[in-house]
Symmetry: none
Subunit: 190 residues, 4 copies
DNA sequence: AATGAATGAGTATTCATTCAT
DNA sequence: GATGAATGAATACTCATTCAT
């Protein structure tokens, strides 16, 4: 009996991410994906039930990883601003290093594939945000605006930083990271 | 000889925007679009050479309108912060009132349709940003960071505000608009 | 504008009947059906929504025709036995002349396509049988057994007669028809 | 070396009969059949060369069993009508108890699988019929019609009885069996 | 200009069968 | 013998686009 090569699933996912990054979700054609991975189209259907399953399975796994990442940092004993900066930098780095994953998540979110699915991972992230901003407000460091606004701004700055860096309009170094974070901080601090 | 009916063209565009907002660009099927507009599929091809032309023509027109909008405000004789706020509010309102148009632009930008096209309208916008931020820096009011960063942040805040409002997580009233703008201002002011 | 040739639908149906008779329902391949009719596969989908619709539409139409056929004969003023014979001969002729249609109906009935459909036409036929046998019983001419049994026997004899004739084991002439009917009559008469 | 497990072969056949009864021959998928039996798809191919072989092997075996069954009864020393009734009842019971087998045979007969095969078993049955009806005619008890007609009627009545019983429109008891047989007898008796 | 019919070139998916262990 | 993985060859269906009027 041939043994299942567990790398194959990873290969499929990797190439799917590549394609989505380059051509969008609609650009994922089962046949050409298979060719890229070096498989027969039929083999894809051993690893994923169908195209929807392929897209949503990857989506779920990515959301899960992303959420897991941040949970560790919340309990550190740093001053609030530094802790926030650390988490922010961590998110920034994660986003840069996983820009294809991020692009994939964004695309799926606004695609029809996402319609029926409850995004569990996102809830985790939401809770993290809540905890984080609550702490800042309690220490009187953050503006007294709704958490969703704070989270929106943080996300927005993150996203745009990533875009600037990926578009080579900005380098990813400590100085620039400091600049971006200080602008974020100025925006949300009380 | 009958002439092309300009209303029909507008109808096609309107329904295309609707579809893209609801189902994404991949959801635009020439036949069902035609049915929605009340035309034959063949008639679409009188108004637009093909699907790509349909998408990109709409895209160009929208980008053009968006840019035109802002140009008027630059010459007003208000203090800088107020002028910036006015432009920001104008953009915000425009984005809210034209969220389908905005969604369309975003979708096209990350679609394969956009690949071969030089985004003329965007250049216009880029120039506006340059002028605007230049003025602020000259008056010593803005942080001395790259214009692209300033523009990115302004765009980011705009986008997230729109999302919050459209998702009904935030109301569109003067107070909230003030809050969002003041956060933006804090972020970019020197 | 090209005009729709109403014969095309009939052609599709005719060739579908041929294929089902020769190879069974599973032998109906949309592409080769289209080729036989002289159309593109895509064109089939203008006339029938999908394969299931193709099969079930034909089925419904055939059932309808079959039922309509018999309704007329019920009111004639012949002696019962002669009337029954006339209807029987009519059914026999119909079955012989439309053996492909009959085969089609039989195949669909035991196929998964039939599962979800309520067979309206059959109900009509059922009612006809009921009326017919009721009359015979009232005149004391038929055995006092359940109508479903009488109908079953009549159907059975019909089917087997058709098989014998189509297999060339029996000729379709008046003598043989008489023989078959008299055997049927002997079986059901009181 | 292990030998082919005869129980496995029986299991495969049993589940094949189940599937054909429920979903028709087209419903037999080698992979899911294997799963049902608790085997790997590849293992099926140890027991049967391919799908056609699977279907036709089962078919041949069933035809053989059916013919064997009847041969024993022909020599009994009963009066003709009673002997015929006994054989008829035996066939009826066999058909009821083996309705899946019967359905299988019917389905295969009208499927493309049957095309190239000469139905040996049926010949045996044909000979039995010939002997049986010959005897009846010699004793002046049966109508002087072609044996194929007599056989057709007997088969027809049998089939319809089975259908009535399996559809619960008729109970399988001595009275009903008597009724059905007497109708058959009335039909064929001289 | 306007149109409904028609279609070629895809696209996802299935499934009998074989491979490699 | 037994097996799970792998696949080639279908197959139903879609859709942007063109045809013929």
């Amino acid at each position: 009996m041939r043994v299942k090569d567990e790398n194959k699933r990873k290969d499929i996912i990797k190439h799917t991410l590549d394609i989505v990054y380059e051509k969008g979700i609609a650009g994922v054609k089962m046949a050409s994906l298979a060719r890229k991975v070096g498989l027969s189209p039929a083999t894809l259907y051993i690893y994923f039930k169908n195209k929807e399953d392929l897209i949503l399975s990857i989506f779920s796994e990515l959301i899960g990883e992303q959420a897991d990442l941040s949970l560790g940092q919340l309990n550190t004993e740093l001053p609030y601003k530094l802790k926030l900066k650390k988490i922010w930098l961590q998110w920034l780095n994660f986003s840069i290093n996983n820009f294809k994953e991020k692009a994939f998540i964004d695309q799926v979110k606004q695609s029809p594939y996402c319609e029926e699915m409850t995004v569990k991972g996102d809830l985790k992230l939401h809770d993290i945000g809540t905890l984080l901003f609550q702490e800042g407000k309690e220490q009187g460091l953050l503006k007294e605006v709704d958490n969703s606004i704070l989270k929106a701004i943080m996300t927005a700055m993150l996203n745009e930083s990533v875009v600037l860096i990926l578009n080579k309009q900005m380098e990813l170094n400590e100085e620039n990271a400091d600049t971006m974070f200080s602008m974020l901080w100025d925006a949300i601090k009380s």
